[in-house]
Symmetry: C2
Subunit: 458 residues, 2 copies
C-alpha cells in the first residue's frame, strides 16, 4: 500500500455484501421471492431517486429530516436566494438546490406507481418489491443508512382472502427458512378502536394506541401512568387492562370481546373480520398454530384500518421480522382516493441476524463453487479444461485454477474459497481416467470417473 | 383524481420497471447470473453511496461532473464559506456541503472493496456485481440517469485462461438468450501499440486510438484527416490503414501481422496472447465461430493493457452489448499496486432492447401467474381455496380471484394479467371433480382432475 494515499472507507452506516453474506442473503430473498410468486405477486422496481415533491410530507417531520437529498447537477447556486445563503438557512436553501431524494421506503414509490399507471394496471394488483431504501438516521447496531425492504401488497380489493394468504405466505417462508418457533400476531384496528370506546377514550384514541404500543418495553405501570397523564380516567384504564390482560385461547378472547364490544360497531367489525380471516385460513388448509390473536398489537396506528400483523421469532435478540396490515387510502396522498389494500414486509437484515443466531442457514449457503480442478502442469491443466467444460455443461459450478502453481497453493485456495470438492489431476488420472475427488468438508477422498462425478452432482 | 394535487412524476431519465418488464429483465439477469456462477464467479454488492473522495478523479473531469452528489444531512451550511456562497461558486461549495455521491460505475466500488478487504480475499478473486449506477447525463433515447451494470472480473491472476473463459461465458449467455447472430470482437492493447510503432506515432498513441475508435462512425476519410491534424505523417497513416484494412481469416491476420510487427515487442506480445487465448478456447471445446480478430477495436484505450473484447449483436439498432478487457492496475487509484485482472460487462438495457427487436424473449416471460381459479359463489370459492393450496404446494403460481364477482370480470382479469390457465369452478365441478382448464393463449378448453392439472404443470 502506498500510504501517501488515504485509505478508502465506506460511508457511515453502509455495508458491502461480500460473497459469503450474499449467499446467505440470496438464500433468504430467493425463498421469499418464490413464495410471493407462487401466490401470484409480480415484481416491481422503482428508481432510487424520487422527486422530493413525491417524498416530502409523507413520513412526518422526523421522516422528512431523514431523507437523503441529491444536489441538483450543474450550477445549482445560480438561482439560489442570497438571503437564504447569508442566513445559513440550510433547510430553506435545500429546497432550492435539491429537487430529488433517495427513496425512504417502498410504500410511497408504490403509491406513486399506482397513481401514474392507474389506467394500465389490472386490479386487484399484487406486487412485490425488494429494493434498498436510505435513511439519514444515526447509525447503530442493527440500524443502517442503506438497507433492503421487501414488501408485498395487494391493492384494489377488500377481500379478506388477502389477509389469510398473508398468513399462509409467512408460514411458508418460515418453513423454507427452517424457522419453527415464531408467532404471527394478529389484531384489528376496529378492536383497538373498540377498546378506546370501551374506555371512553375516543378523543384520545391515538394516545391510547401509542401507549399500548409501548407495553412490551416499559411495562403496565408506566403505561397506566402515561394514560392518566393523557387524560384517560381510572375507570377507563381498568377497562383497557381488563381486556389487554385477558388470557386465553383465540376462541376465549373472541367470546370475551363479544360481550365487551356489545355496543361497539367498530369492535364488532374487528371481531367479525378476524374470525373470517381465521376461517379462510382453515379453508386453505393452513395452520393457525403460529397465529396469536394479540389484543395489544397496535403497530403504526393511524395508517392501518383493518387487520394488523406482526411476526416475532421467539427466543432471538431482535425477533420482530415482519409486519403489515390493511389500509384504506394508499394513494390518497397523491389525490387518488379509494384504493384499499393490504400489505406486509419482511425485514431482511433482521431475518439474516435471526438465522445466524439460530444457526439455521443450510450448509449450501456456506459453500461457493462446487468443483475445483487442480493440476500439475500444462498437460494436466489441458485435461482439466475439457473436464470443466463438461461439468459446466451440466450446470455444475466449476473452476480450473488459472495459474500453473504448486498443488499446495491450489488446495489452500479451494479451502479458503470454501469449494465443495477438489479434483487433483495428475499424470495417472490422465491415463486411467479415474479421478480422485476430495470432499473439502470432511477430507474424505473417493475415486471415480468424470462421468460418475457428473452423475453424482448434476 | 383530486387535481388540486400535483400529479406525481418520475425524475428525468429514470424508469419504473413494472411486472412485464421485470419478467423480461429477470430472464436476462438470471441467465447471466447462472453462467457467472457456473464459472465460479461469486456475487458482490456495494452501497449506492460512496464517499466523494472515493469517486472523484476516477472518471476524468467530465465524469466528475456527472456524479450525483448527496447533500450532507442536518445543518449543512453551518461550516460553509461565506465567500463561496457570495460568489455563487457551486463547484467549490459542493465539496463543502456534500461528502457522498452515488456510484458512477461498478469498477471503482469493486477496486475500493478489494483494497479494503485485501487481507481477507482469496485470490484469484472472481466476483460479479449486478447493480444500478447513476449518471447526471442528459437523458436521451436509450440513455438513462439510472441504469444497471452487470460486471464480472477476475483479479489476482494474469492467466489467459480467464480471457478464454470470458469468451466461453459470452457464448453461453447468448445461447441461453436465443441470440445466434453476434460477433465477439477481440483485439489486444499490444497490437494497438504495435500499430502506433509501425506508424511512428508512439508519441501520439492515444490520439491514434481515439481516431481508430471512431472508424465505424465517421469513416476512413475523416479518420485520415484527423490523424494528419494530430501530427501523424502520411506514410504512417498509410501503414495504419494497410493493417486496419487487411481482410482475411484470423490466421491470415496473424501471419500478416507477424511480418508487420517483426520489430515490435509489444505487437509480438499481443499476437502471442491472442493466439494463446484462441488455443485455450479450443482446449475448452469452445467455439471460435463468433470470434473476430478485429484490429480496429480500441475501446477505452488507456485503461486496458492486454486483450480487449466487444460483443455486437448483428442486424439490430444498438448492437454493442458487452465489452471488457485486461487491466494491470485496478487498485492503483487507492494506493495498492500490482493487481492485474480481466473483466467484462453486459449492458442490460441494450440486451433488453435487442431481444425485443429480435422478438427473442421466450413466451414464458410474457405470462404471469400460471393458474387463476375463478368461482361463482362462496361454495365454489371455498373449493378453490383448497385447490389453490394444493397447486401452490407443488410450486405452481396460483391465484384465487379474491372477490365474489361475475365470472366475466374474473376472466377479463385473467386475460389482462396474462395468466396462463384459467379454471372456472362451478357447481358441476364441485360434484364431479372434473375441472375445465382454459388455455388463455389459445382459448382451448380441456377437462381434467386437479391431480391431472398438477401432474401437467408441476
Amino acid at each position: 500500500m502506498d500510504f501517501s494515499m488515504e485509505k478508502p472507507t465506506l460511508p457511515k452506516g453502509t455495508r458491502d455484501f461480500g460473497p459469503a453474506q450474499m449467499a446467505k442473503r440470496q438464500f433468504i430473498l430467493n425463498h421469499i421471492r418464490q413464495v410471493f410468486q407462487t401466490y401470484g405477486f409480480l415484481p416491481l422496481e422503482t428508481p432510487a431517486m424520487e422527486n422530493l415533491s413525491t417524498l416530502t410530507g409523507k413520513y412526518g417531520e422526523e421522516g422528512d429530516q431523514l431523507l437523503f437529498k441529491i444536489l441538483n447537477s450543474g450550477d445549482f447556486l445560480k438561482e439560489a436566494d442570497t438571503t437564504l445563503m447569508g442566513n445559513r438557512d440550510s433547510k430553506s436553501l435545500a429546497s432550492v438546490i435539491s429537487e430529488k431524494g433517495l427513496r425512504y421506503d417502498l410504500t410511497v414509490p408504490f403509491a406513486r406507481y399506482v397513481v401514474m399507471n392507474r389506467h394500465d394496471i389490472t386490479f386487484p394488483f399484487k406486487r412485490y418489491q425488494i429494493q434498498p431504501v436510505w435513511r439519514a438516521d444515526r447509525p447503530q447496531k442493527g440500524r443502517y443508512r442503506e438497507f433492503y425492504q421487501c414488501d408485498a401488497d395487494v391493492v384494489g380489493t377488500d377481500s379478506l382472502l388477502c389477509e389469510a394468504e398473508i398468513i399462509l405466505m409467512i408460514t411458508e417462508v418460515f418453513q423454507r427458512l427452517n424457522i419453527a418457533d415464531y408467532t404471527i400476531k394478529l389484531n384489528h384496528r376496529g378492536i383497538l378502536t373498540g377498546l378506546a370506546e370501551v374506555a371512553h377514550a375516543q378523543a384520545n384514541e391515538s394516545s391510547l394506541f401509542v401507549a399500548i404500543d409501548k407495553l412490551d418495553k416499559i411495562g403496565e405501570d408506566k403505561v397506566r401512568d402515561e394514560l392518566l397523564t393523557r387524560g384517560i380516567d381510572r375507570e377507563g384504564i381498568e377497562r383497557v387492562f381488563s381486556v389487554l390482560n385477558f388470557k386465553g385461547t383465540t376462541a376465549d378472547k373472541q367470546s370475551f370481546l363479544q360481550t365487551q364490544f356489545a355496543a361497539s360497531p367498530n369492535g364488532q367489525k374487528g371481531l367479525r373480520e378476524v374470525a373470517e380471516v381465521l376461517m379462510l385460513l382453515q379453508r386453505y388448509g393452513g395452520t393457525a398454530e403460529h397465529v396469536e390473536f394479540d389484543l395489544a398489537l397496535a403497530r403504526g396506528l393511524s395508517y392501518y384500518t383493518g387487520c394488523i400483523f406482526e411476526v416475532k421469532i421467539n427466543h432471538v435478540a431482535i425477533g420482530s421480522v415482519s409486519g403489515g396490515g390493511r389500509y384504506d387510502n394508499l394513494t390518497g396522498m397523491f389525490g387518488m382516493p379509494g384504493v384499499s389494500g393490504v400489505g406486509f414486509s419482511f425485514g431482511v437484515d433482521r431475518l439474516y441476524d435471526a438465522l445466524e443466531e439460530l444457526a439455521a442457514f443450510p450448509q449450501e449457503t456456506t459453500r461457493s463453487t462446487t468443483v475445483l480442478l487442480a493440476h500439475f502442469d500444462e498437460a494436466t491443466r489441458t485435461f482439466a479444461l475439457g473436464a470443466a467444460a463438461r461439468l459446466r455443461a451440466r450446470g455444475i459450478a466449476t473452476e480450473v485454477y488459472p495459474d500453473l502453481v504448486k498443488i499446495k497453493k491450489q488446495l489452500e485456495f479451494a479451502d479458503k474459497k470454501k469449494v465443495r470438492f477438489t479434483v487433483v489431476i495428475g499424470a495417472d488420472e490422465l491415463t486411467s481416467g479415474q479421478l480422485t475427488v476430495k470432499t473439502m468438508e470432511t477430507g474424505e477422498q473417493q475415486k471415480m470417473t468424470l462421468e460418475e462425478l457428473i452423475q453424482r452432482l448434476g
